[in-house]
């Protein structure tokens, strides 16, 4: 089966990976010797005339308020990981291995020929890919061609898609040769021979081209037109999720954390969709400049992969645990996953919606009130009242045999009574507990208080003292 490659070209990743301001003109730069060169910039900076390759001093001269961000390879790698997860949603053949050494733009490639059948065509596949990429919010340009290098070439020229070799060659021939992924000196040499377009280069006799321009350039052209195979290492979503995000400054308030958090959770969501799973538990570690890090752990009643829901839970937890100081970096980590019940969606629409609503409210309550404040009631196999019930996770059903007539209210602990209560019915004798040292020998009665309350009291047969243990109601 012929291959079909999609290239996602990310012209602005070095800047976008640093989560810059959307409205202020910003640029990412890198150091080359003593010089600081602009790698890429956002739209407002572009509008002032900033272009990649110029020195940072030139850029600030053009655009006085320019925010400068030094590019950080680690942040770019992490962003590529998130983008790979998004691409993994449409195919398991995703690669980020760089090819052309001199290119500063990042690209994610995916081979989609095998997935076309599943999506019943390229349009549906691209729709899914586009929506995943749009959620992540990076700027990108797609290119599609039968070869990986071909897809890159079309993406860098922002050319229409070519789904077969013929279409590709027609589209590629017209492009300037500077777009080819070859070393700069090779491109210069070709120009020196009077060549301008990709088509002219491709028309050169193969063996002579190799002799004159070297093996690397020849191999590249071979891969470009599909004469040589492209062997790739493919991305595989990691078993454990860990995403580190370092701020350039320090963030003072939870409000300021919201934007990066939302973005991290969307990335996390895309990772979960790629793995077709949901998360049961995750942690956010907040790194402070002058205090030990804070960890916020969030557990869920049902696995989820909805970024908005995860954000709500996280916010509830963070509001409960005030931060000891400004935040320098965030780490989002998760290792407990389980498939959420979304496969049933088409079949049992209402059921799933109810379930979602239910787990969302229980999670919200647990996040804010703490797990110990959100409980179900269970029966325990013990005759002593204080041991005959237990708190269980919400929703668990007990299978213990029911005891006879019992009051509706139980005091947390039996309360000693002054005087002898006015007993109406009883006694019911209760003995036991020798097995765990909490011996009881009690006679239980229903007593009536002056104000009408009906009390569940007992007389301790060892001491003769009276105690209140519950209230009928």
């Amino acid at each position: 089966m012929p291959l079909l490659w999609t290239a996602i070209r990310l012209p602005c990743l070095p800047l976008e990976a640093l989560s810059p301001s959307a409205t202020e003109p910003s640029a990412a730069f890198e150091r080359k010797g003593n010089r600081r060169l602009v790698v890429c910039c956002n739209k407002p900076a572009e509008a002032s005339g900033v272009v990649s390759g110029m020195t940072l001093s030139a850029a600030t001269a053009l655009c006085p308020g320019l925010r400068e961000h030094e590019r950080r390879p680690a942040a770019e790698r992490a962003a590529l990981g998130a983008l790979s997860a998004a691409a993994y949603q449409v195919t398991d053949q995703v690669s980020v291995q760089p090819t052309a050494p001199q290119s500063s733009a990042h690209t994610v490639w995916l081979e989609v020929a095998n997935s076309l059948r599943m999506f019943q065509g390229l349009d549906a596949l691209l729709a899914k890919l586009n929506s995943a990429l749009d959620r992540l919010g990076y700027s990108y340009i797609l290119g599609i061609a039968p070869t990986l290098e071909g897809a890159s070439l079309l993406a860098s020229a922002d050319q229409p898609f070519a789904t077969d070799r013929q279409q590709f060659l027609v589209a590629a021939r017209r492009l300037p040769l500077s777009l080819l992924g070859m070393k700069e000196e090779t491109t210069e040499a070709l120009r020196g021979c009077g060549m301008r377009t990709v088509g002219e280069v491709l028309a050169l006799p193969h063996s002579e081209f190799a002799m004159r321009f070297g093996q690397d350039a020849t191999d590249y052209l071979g891969r470009l037109i599909g004469r040589l195979p492209d062997v790739r290492r493919f991305y595989k979503p990691p078993d454990k999720y860990r995403r580190y995000f370092e701020f350039e400054g320090e963030l003072e308030s939870t409000g300021a954390l919201l934007f990066p958090l939302r973005r991290m959770l969307v990335e996390f969501q895309e990772y979960l969709i790629a793995r077709d799973t949901g998360v049961r538990e995750f942690q956010l570690e907040l790194e402070h400049a002058d205090a030990p890090s804070t960890t916020v752990a969030v557990g869920m009643s049902a696995p989820s992969r909805d970024a908005a829901h995860l954000l709500v839970l996280l916010r509830e937890r963070m509001e409960r645990a005030p931060m000891p100081g400004p935040v320098r970096a965030l780490t989002l980590a998760a290792s407990r996953f389980a498939a959420p019940r979304v496969q049933q969606r088409e079949l049992f629409v209402t059921r799933t919606k109810e379930d979602e609503e239910w787990s969302s409210v229980i999670d919200r309550l647990t996040a804010r009130l703490g797990a110990e404040a959100v409980k179900g009631l269970g029966l325990a196999d013990d005759y002593r009242p204080e041991k005959s019930w237990c708190q269980v996770p919400v929703g668990s059903e007990s299978k213990i045999v029911l005891q006879k007539s019992r009051p509706l209210w139980l005091l947390p602990e039996p309360r000693p009574l002054v005087g002898i209560p006015r007993c109406v019915t009883g006694p019911e004798r209760m003995e036991g507990g020798w097995w765990d040292g909490l011996d009881v020998a009690r006679d239980y009665y229903l007593a009536k208080a002056k104000d009408g309350a009906r009390l569940w009291v007992y007389r301790d047969r060892n001491t003769g003292g009276w105690f209140l243990q519950g209230l009928w109601s």
Binding site: E354, E357, W358, S360, V361, I362, R364, L365, R368, L369, G370, E372, A373, V374, K375, G376, L377, G378, L379, P385, S388, W389, C390, Q391, V394, G395, S396, E397, S398, L402, Q403, K404, S405, R406, P407, L408, W409, L410, L411, P412, V424, T425, G426, P427, E428, R429, D443, L446, A449, D451, G452, A453, R454, L455, G470, L471, W472, S473
Partner: protein, 217 residues
């Protein structure tokens, strides 16, 4: 047109006519005597009911048990928010309540209790939310009422006698006290119905208790 409207006020939109009862969805209380006093023959759904009583253990909680049992057995969920004591699992189960459908919320502070009440009421996951708040301001009441409208549950607020004089947006307010007969209910406010009084027989779990003798029953 105007003349016609005078003859037949129902032609004018927005004219409220007292005799027309708002269509109120209800859940039967399980007490025939009580149902007959309530418009729609039951607890109002989607609006707040206040049970006003000063004493715990007179039957004020048992009053809800027929509803709790019916809802939980029908697969619906019930939340108890900040109750004064532990709802005793064996006692509830003795009333036929399915415990797996009961959620007990024990927030640490009164504010969190109100927050939890609002969340559960709003969520549409519960058939009944019973709340024992410490203090409720007019604003809290309005919020709870709004949440109840959104979620569509029976919303029961237990409030002290002192709150009886406070203005309330609740659809139904019943003062609960104990009497020789059992439980005395004074319906103070009854939207779509009228104030009245009634007695319910003692909600007697205790009759199942043996009257005499000693030892194991």
């Amino acid at each position: 047109m105007q003349a016609a409207a005078f003859q037949n006020p129902s032609l004018i939109r927005g004219v409220w006519r007292g005799r027309e009862r708002a269509i109120q969805t209800t859940e039967p209380t399980g007490w025939t005597a009580l149902n007959s006093h309530l418009p729609g023959d039951g607890w109002p759904v989607g609006s707040v009911t206040e049970l006003i009583c000063d004493r715990t253990g007179i039957g004020e909680f048992g009053l809800l048990m027929p509803l709790v049992a019916r809802l939980t057995n029908a697969g619906k969920r019930v939340a108890f928010v900040a109750p004064p004591y532990l709802p005793y699992a064996h006692g509830l189960a003795g009333h036929g309540v399915k415990l797996g459908r009961v959620v007990l919320l024990s927030p640490e502070s009164p504010d969190e209790a109100l927050w939890a009440a609002e969340q559960t009421l709003r969520s549409s996951s519960f058939g009944l939310v019973a709340v024992w708040p410490k203090a409720v301001s007019d604003r809290d009441l309005r919020r709870l009422q709004l949440a109840a409208e959104t979620g569509g549950a029976v919303a029961v607020l237990y409030r002290p006698r002192s709150a009886a004089s406070q203005h309330s947006t609740a659809a139904l307010r019943i003062a609960v006290s104990s009497s020789e007969m059992g439980l005395k209910l004074e319906i103070l406010k009854n939207r779509g119905g009228s104030p009245s009084e009634l007695s319910l027989p003692l909600l007697n779990d205790s009759t199942r208790f043996r009257k005499t003798g000693a030892g194991w029953a």
